[in-house]
Symmetry: C2
Subunit: 577 residues, 2 copies
């Protein structure tokens, strides 16, 4: 049983049949065609040699098929993780240098270890700290930074930078060196891919192709761009005219790679590896859950951590880069009919064959083409309407989102995501630190108590009833103290104060001490503190504390009982108005 939890392959492999194999093979073929240019492009984006992208698309896919719980998730290099890899490695070494490649391998290994450990310890909830607006803002801003970082390849110039400001500055300074043949290839590929994305699909549908097939054909446009520009570059000898090509790629399968054991390097990369892990996991799980739900399947987030973690370990030990579940590829895999994770394993075979036999051709592939595929791919990540939606719905969420976007664009991806998380948590704590509370009075003729500000209710000057609509914990403990003491001071005649607690789901140790302090201070001021409608589980805990033995007043089961006892009215008041 536990075996099946940790090895999800046992849940489907025993019943694996011919019809499933057929579906999986078709999906794998389409995904392979899509993944070849993507893995080359994302290696370029991460500043790594092209083969690293291919290596990261072989072993990890096989491992995920064994340990992953999503039936259709397509694991491999993705845009945002590649940008984060580049950002993490930039301070360490020159892009493409052996130290840089070793850094990417180490990032994959560390990310793998972190994810696997988090899965074993069931720490998947850590991903909850990334609120949706922060994730959305982060991905939008990352998309913009990624697109900007690829413009140098389109123009064929040297430029660098980790954020929009430095990239932009660097581009402006070097734009005079634009290489015309490169620009022709790059702009051509860009226009073709944009056409394919925007116009090709409706065109195909109008020509009678089914919507789903049209979609899949459209998504394979990048391979066409790659084929055509590679041929052109080879035929016209564009390499000699200053067009930067991918260049010679070692042919053959990846070999076992031993990661660096330099503890200084591990420390330097720890935060980056953690952020790559968490961001990748969140993206992966939301894609996986969306697709699984369409077939009433489910994924197990804690096991997903293990699936992605082992996949990253596989990536690292086979000389690859950090991987995660990609959105567009997974959708294509799903739409193309993949039924089991075996489709991923077949895709791995496809990429392995490409690594064995296609590398001589890849040497002629212009980098501008890859840059164009990246720009078109990340354009879908940028979601400006989300800013408006969030603004209209919640200003606090919008604040966290905007801070994430601005810091990601103007400083770095890591600063952006950390600020977003800190701000989300801070704003949430701020919101709950000033909970809604109301002085309530008796609705005449009933046993109900309502807010005195909104309803016409009976009051008693010597007894105040205060209802708090939030769990009591450290962030609002002080607020509670202030609210209660202000009430006690404003009503000099006050003799009894009843805290009405039906909405209090939790009283933590800080709030307990605050209640004890409130009780003592009220005693000093000659006021008795009472509690009413305390929930069962909260009462169970309070029973063992000194609060109840030192309580100036009593604990009432119902607020009405407190009213009867404290005001001396034994019966509900008659309606007077």
């Amino acid at each position: 049983m536990n075996f099946k939890r940790f090895l999800p392959i046992l849940q489907w492999a025993p019943q694996y049949g011919r019809s499933q194999a057929a579906s999986d093979l078709v999906a794998a073929l389409i995904v392979t065609v899509m993944l070849i240019p993507q893995s080359l492009a994302y290696a370029l984006l991460a500043g790594l040699p092209a083969q690293v992208g291919l290596y990261a698309s072989i072993l990890p896919l096989v491992i995920y098929a064994v340990f992953g719980t999503s039936r259709t998730l397509s694991v491999g290099p993705v845009a945002v993780a590649s940008l984060m890899t580049a950002a993490a490695l930039a301070p360490l070494a020159a892009a493409g240098s052996p130290e840089y490649v070793a850094g990417a391998v180490l990032l994959a290994i560390m990310s793998g270890l972190m994810l696997t450990m988090m899965g074993i310890l069931r720490l998947g909830f850590l991903a909850n700290f990334l609120s949706h607006p922060v994730i959305s803002g982060f991905i939008t801003a990352s998309g913009i930074v990624i697109a900007a970082s690829q413009l140098k390849h389109i123009f064929g110039v040297q430029a660098s930078g980790q954020n929009l400001l430095t990239i932009g500055q660097s581009l402006i300074l070097s734009i005079g060196d634009t290489n015309i043949p490169t620009l022709a290839i790059g702009a051509g590929a860009l226009l073709f891919l944009m056409f394919a994305r925007k116009q090709l699909k409706p065109l195909l549908i109008r020509s009678g192709v089914g919507a789903r097939s049209a979609d899949i054909i459209t998504k394979t446009a990048p391979i066409l761009a790659v084929l055509v520009t590679t041929l052109v570059a080879w035929q016209l000898g564009l390499g000699a005219q200053g067009v930067r090509l991918v260049g010679s790629v070692p042919s053959g399968l990846p070999e076992l790679t031993i990661p660096s054991l330099d503890s200084g390097l591990w420390q330097q990369l720890a935060v980056s590896a953690f952020l790559i892990s968490v961001v990748g996991f969140v993206e992966s799980v939301s894609v996986g859950q969306t697709l699984a739900a369409k077939r009433r399947q489910r994924i197990d987030p804690d096991q997903e951590l293990i699936g992605l973690g082992t996949a990253n370990l596989g990536a690292g030990f086979s000389g690859g880069m950090p991987v995660t579940g990609g959105f567009s590829r997974s959708v294509v895999n799903f739409d193309a009919g993949a039924e089991t994770p075996a489709a991923g394993a077949y895709t791995a075979v496809g990429i392995a064959l490409a690594t064995l036999f296609l590398t001589p051709a890849i040497a002629y592939l212009p980098q501008a083409t890859l840059a164009a595929t990246i720009i078109v791919a990340v354009a879908t990540l940028v979601d400006f309407p989300a800013l408006g939606r969030t603004w209209r719905y919640s200003r606090t969420d919008f604040g966290a989102m905007l801070a994430t976007i601005i810091l990601t664009l103007a400083h770095s991806v890591e600063a952006g995501i950390i600020a977003g998380v800190a701000l989300s948590i801070g704003l949430f704590l701020y919101r709950t630190s000033r909970p809604h509370s109301a002085v309530v009075g008796l609705v005449p003729g009933t046993e109900h108590f309502r807010n005195v500000l909104r309803h016409d209710v009976e009051l008693c000057p010597k007894v105040t009833f205060l209802r708090v609509d939030e769990s009591l914990y450290f962030a609002n403990a002080r607020f509670l103290e202030e609210t209660v003491m202000d009430l006690a001071i404003c009503e000099p005649e006050l003799k009894d104060l009843v805290l009405v607690c039906p909405a209090v789901n939790l009283v933590d140790a800080s709030a307990l001490e605050s209640l004890e302090a409130i009780n003592e201070r009220l005693k000093d001021a000659g006021v008795r503190l009472h509690l009413s409608e305390v929930k069962g589980p909260v009462m169970d805990r309070l029973k063992n504390t000194e609060l109840l033995s030192h309580l100036g007043g009593q604990v009432f089961l119902s607020t009405f009982e407190a009213w009867q006892t404290l005001t001396g009215h034994r019966k509900p008041l008659e309606k007077t108005a």
Copy 2:
């Protein structure tokens, strides 16, 4: 009006009369006698020359009398802030060196600026992030570290270290160099002060002295120890026998001090200044609130920030060290009958006179005596029973407390407090990230819905009612998705799912997106999502969103209405059992 908020002195000075002045003067006299040894001792603890402690007890008290809202808080150097000052400055310069003193001045200025800004921006809620168990653990551990750090003065040896491990190691290595006259003075003072604290008060009470006077006399014991040991040291020429004395202290009032403008230094000290500010503020406010409540007065925490902030600015510009409201001194001030903050201003005059005329005598004061007063004072900070109480009440709070204590003892005060805060927040988010939820069914013969696991209720296989007992926000958005989708997958016949929301006080943007995702995924799975009992303010917000227009089902005012509509039973079911 606003004037009175920012200048609380206007609230009491206009009515200030002779009887108040008499009370305030008596209290000031007693507090002065207590504050002289304390300010010298805490300067020693912070590694600063003795006069710095005196300077910090003059101008800040006058300023707090103008800007503070507590009538009885006694501001000045305190133990924990002095320890934190020492910890912050240790990496910067040798204790007592001009750079070190300049660092203390800068810490006071920065802390003053931070507190004042927080007050103006009404950021007092930031102090809420320090949960009570974390504060309590931190103060206990700080007390232990402080006491340990003073042992070297009792033994008259050289030792150093910022935590219990390094201090202990350093002490053990140097214990062979113990100076016997120093030990005699130190141990003598320690025993006398312990006697005064434990036995003198009951003795005085038995001799017919009133309880309150006995308490105050007891609290002035340190000045007696100071007088006697100073005389002994002077008469016997102990300085020549290796007893370390306070030494010559410049006589005269403090002069205007210009803080360093070195931006590197500001950056280095920023975190420490912030921590000293927040810890000091929390201590101060809780003392102030406790005392104010006894007289049905109130303090304004945001104005307290301004009061403490300006007091610290005063401390810095007059060559002092960070100050805050001290617990024991404030209690003495209160018990001695202080009625207005003028008592603090009179105390400042007392300390100023001491600075002018007593410094020649202070030169003969043994450091061992001051160390003894520190050890006895911080002994009251150590609260081990709080560990047991917290353990019994809440394991999560205990975890945060223990981590704070261990890190403070074994690493540093800053690591301790930061870990405690991070852990408190993390544990709270974890608790709310898995809220209580229940599938509910109709109680036969009523319109009430209860948990199916606890009550004998009616169910309908095609309709599930899920009640969530927590606000929906980013930390539990994913949990909600998983809970709902698991329900949908486990019940293959399910056609309708009703989310019962009476306990949902908030739906943030993340939870909104989760609800939208749940809605879409349920649609894909052939299930309609309904909502019931959505609270007014939550509904107001949801009205402007796409969730409601795309909702597969409906929004019902009551869960019973949903039951009638979806199950086709138009009337309450008759009780069958």
